[in-house]
């Protein structure tokens, strides 16, 4: 190899890369045609997905309405207090009014009794069932999971959830479903305990947006993205500021480094053999 010409080395490198690429292509093609029982969700152009895109807060507000009127019957949001709504998609007064709609067990009072009171900003969204056993009993043995972190807790995130909500269809030939189960190709295994939860005009949006099935799904998932990542907008805003400082600082450091090193880098060694 030491005696190879440049052309030979280039040819050997190209052959090596070609062989590696060919092997990789073969494996990828082979894998792609193998039977996979779960349908992978295609990517969607979510409005908050880009590095400098914030949440659509109007969509979060509509999504909360979908959650409250459709999902909250079975799914909890146990990590979300009402005070988090303030200045995100509700004013403080609206959030207080929202919290006051629920009754919360509190106490003990001065005479040692527990009592029910209207909710406050500091309270968390109510649980639909007192415990997981009650949730399973009411849902054919399947416990509806908490949705606070669902966007982060599933491969595919928003894309998976959107396609799950909209992807219900009849089971293919030969697929047997248990009683109370439904077929969804996006759900691992195909058999899901949840019935299709959304359909057009299941609710009426307070802002007048047409409540089509895809709109409902998009809004509730934007809301769930916010519950999973409440720091999202602030994080990206900080990121932009950080890059505005870091990039020029890096360029400056690089310049100064090259400047200090220029004397050494431009040095030469010269061998002057002794003349006898």
């Amino acid at each position: 190899m030491a005696g190879w010409t440049v052309g030979k080395k280039v040819l050997a490198t190209a052959l090596g890369m070609g062989a590696t690429g060919g092997a990789g292509l073969y494996v990828a093609l082979d894998e792609s045609v193998k039977a996979d029982l779960t349908l992978h969700p295609p990517k969607l152009p979510w409005s908050h997905k880009g590095p400098i895109d914030s949440f659509d807060h109007a969509s979060i507000r509509r999504g909360y309405q979908v959650y409250k009127q459709v999902c909250a019957a079975c799914h909890s949001l146990k990590y979300i207090p009402y005070r988090h709504f303030v200045d995100v998609f509700m004013t403080e007064d609206e959030a207080k009014e929202e919290a006051a709609e629920i009754m919360v067990r509190d106490g003990p009072n001065d005479i040692g009794e527990m009592f029910d009171r209207p909710g406050k900003l500091t309270d968390y969204l109510p649980m639909p069932f007192p415990n997981s056993a009650a949730a399973a009993y009411a849902n054919n043995g399947a416990v509806p999971p908490d949705l606070s972190l669902m966007v982060l807790a599933r491969h595919g995130g928003e894309d998976y959830l959107y396609h799950l909500l909209n992807g219900y269809c009849d089971p293919p030939e030969g697929v047997e479903l248990g009683e109370g189960q439904h077929f969804n190709p996006y759900f691992p295994g195909g058999a899901i305990g949840m019935a299709p939860p959304l359909y057009t005009d299941i609710i009426e949006y307070e802002d007048g947006t047409p409540a089509t099935q895809s709109q409902l799904a998009k809004d509730v998932i934007t809301f769930l993205s916010w519950t999973a990542m409440p720091e999202h907008d602030e994080r990206k805003k900080f990121g932009m500021k950080a890059m505005l400082v870091l990039i020029p600082f890096t360029a400056l450091c690089y310049y100064k480094k090259r400047q200090y090193w220029s004397l050494l880098k431009s040095g030469k060694y010269v061998y002057n053999p002794k003349k006898y």
């Binding site: 190899m1 030491a2 590095p51 990590y79 988090h84 999971p145 606070s148 972190l149 982060l152 807790a153 599933r154 491969h155 995130g157 691992p188 999973a228 990542m229 409440p230 720091e231 994080r235 990206k236 900080f238 990121g239 950080a242 890059m243 870091l246 990039i247 600082f249 890096t250 450091c253 690089y254 100064k256 480094k257 200090y260 090193w261 050494l264």
Partner: protein
């Protein structure tokens, strides 16, 4: 600083370490990773300390406290993302630093190399313990899988596992002790890093040519202070890019589900930096054999200082040695990929072949370079 160092021992140490330290003029960017790892360690200790202020190590509370802190503790999301992604960058730096050491035969500095391998082991332990703390599904099941490996030890195995767990399964006792040890280990690593530098500065850094550089050294400041600063900027840039824009890109979604001993995840796998060792562990069909192979995959680095010495230090002038080295890099990357796959065909056979090739490098590199020495 120059005047003060005449009187203050601390200032004198700092001066001799980072200001007037004679450093070879020709060390390349691969020599930046030492300082970068120091920056990573400092970052992890700082962010970890802040996170520990709001953390509760209890099975009923850990997951809740970590999630709640996102919304309730100012900028805790930043510290958590920095700590999680900082761990990944720590391992990127570690693997590149070790690769530099293997390529340029830095292991001839036996003490430096040995302390370095101990640091690697402690950092790996610390990363494993830290991943358990949020008590997600992958935290719990990863802890269960890895601690259960100790049951493969003959005679004492099952007792060791119960002792490690602090009970009959991974539970609260395990979590609390993991938190304590995870808090302690980085300070031990910091001390060892100081020892690592001490041994290094006894002899001075090597250089890419592999020859003595005693006749051509420059002072560390400003040359390498600035070069290391540029390295830090190029390293921290992508780290902050991940923290701010894609904080969970390298993470596992399963860890956003609270740990449940009654529900096993479909694919239990560690973070990406342990996947190569995970692939080697699963490649051996025997439990004890797998554990031995897992340990050997890292401990084999202790063998490097005792491998046959070559006429020229490093692989720069050994073409077939270079081919073998870069093949090892490819094998390492492929092992990482294989570790993320389920234990099914063809991944089982692929993992076994790659594991063999991984160990084959260490067996072959010495004889291969000796053959070239004899031929020339």
């Amino acid at each position: 600083m120059y005047k003060a160092s005449r009187f203050s021992p601390l200032a004198s140490v700092i001066r001799h370490t980072v200001i007037t330290l004679p450093t070879p003029v020709n060390i390349s960017t691969w020599w930046n990773f030492g300082s970068l790892l120091g920056v990573c360690l400092a970052t992890q200790i700082f962010s970890g300390l802040v996170l520990s202020l709001h953390f509760t190590a209890h099975t009923d509370l850990s997951f809740y406290v970590v999630i709640q802190s996102f919304g309730d503790v100012y900028y805790n999301w930043w510290f958590r993302a920095l700590h999680a992604n900082g761990a990944s960058f720590f391992f990127i730096g570690l693997y590149l630093h070790i690769a530099r050491g293997m390529y340029y035969s830095s292991y001839v500095f036996k003490e430096v190399w040995s302390v370095g391998v101990v640091i690697l082991l402690l950092v790996m332990a610390s990363a494993f313990l830290g991943y358990v703390l949020p008590w997600g599904q992958m935290s719990f099941w990863g802890a269960t899988v890895i601690t259960s490996l100790f049951s493969a030890l003959p005679i004492i195995g099952s007792d060791v596992v119960i002792w490690l767990w602090g009970g009959f399964s991974v539970d609260n006792a395990t979590l609390t002790r993991f938190f304590g040890i995870h808090f302690l280990l980085p300070f031990t690593v910091a001390g060892l890093a100081g020892l690592h530098l001490f041994f290094l500065h006894d002899q001075g850094s090597s250089n890419p040519l592999g020859v003595s550089s005693d006749f051509n050294k420059v002072v560390f400041h400003h040359y390498y202070v600035l070069k290391d600063l540029v390295g830090v900027c190029f390293f921290v840039g992508p780290l902050l890019g991940l923290v701010y824009f894609y904080p969970w890109l390298l993470g596992d979604p399963e860890n956003f589900i609270e740990g449940n001993p009654l529900v096993t995840p479909h694919h239990i796998q560690p973070e990406w930096y342990f996947l190569f060792a995970y692939a080697i562990l699963r490649a051996v069909p025997n439990k004890l054999g797998g554990v031995v192979a897992l340990a050997a995959a890292v401990l084999i680095l202790f063998y490097m200082p005792f491998s046959p010495k070559t006429s020229i230090k490093g692989l720069s002038f050994y073409p077939w040695g270079k081919v073998l080295f870069f093949s090892l890099i490819g094998v390492f990357i492929l092992l990482t990929w294989a570790g993320s796959k389920p234990v099914e065909e063809p991944y089982v056979v692929v993992s076994q072949v790659l594991s063999f090739l991984y160990f084959f490098y260490f067996l072959l590199i010495g004889p291969l370079t000796r053959i070239q020495d004899k031929l020339l």
